[in-house]
Symmetry: C2
């Protein structure tokens, strides 16, 4: 049963994964990510990769899905940052 707490978890997970999308759109449009910290996205991307492994080992599908999506967005931002680096 999708109880209140599970729904809350899904809303939380959606915000902390799709939260990267505005940065990707902004970076893609402006082609300028000088103020964005490279190290932040390196650490967050590695962190989400480890969360994904953690979810697989704990057999927790919410953690797995949330971090695969987050990983894709985090890595995309990281890629943009490196691509437009001057």
């Amino acid at each position: 049963m999708a109880d209140f707490v599970t729904i809350l978890g899904f809303i939380a997970a959606s915000l902390t994964t799709f939260g990267y999308v505005p940065q990707i759109i902004k970076g893609y449009k402006t082609k300028h990510l000088k103020d964005v910290s490279l190290m932040m996205f390196v650490l967050l991307t590695i962190g989400m990769f480890l969360w994904m492994i953690y979810g697989i080992l704990r057999k927790d599908i919410v953690i797995i899905i949330a971090n695969i999506v987050g990983l894709v967005f985090g890595a995309t931002t990281l890629g943009l940052k490196l691509y437009y680096k001057r």
Copy 2:
């Protein structure tokens, strides 16, 4: 017992919380966060707040601690972004 999976979880949590610190340091030093997406930090900060509530309801101390720390760092970055907004 702090097994391998739990330790992995703690490492993952440390990376996805302390990952914001390089952005805070960079923003504080340069006083310039024009390229950083305001909406990203609004979404991530609300998301971590909801994760914290989720952790409290699930009585999961790792989720609670990770998201309190993440919330402080996320809100700090958001504050810097708003403060130095031109």
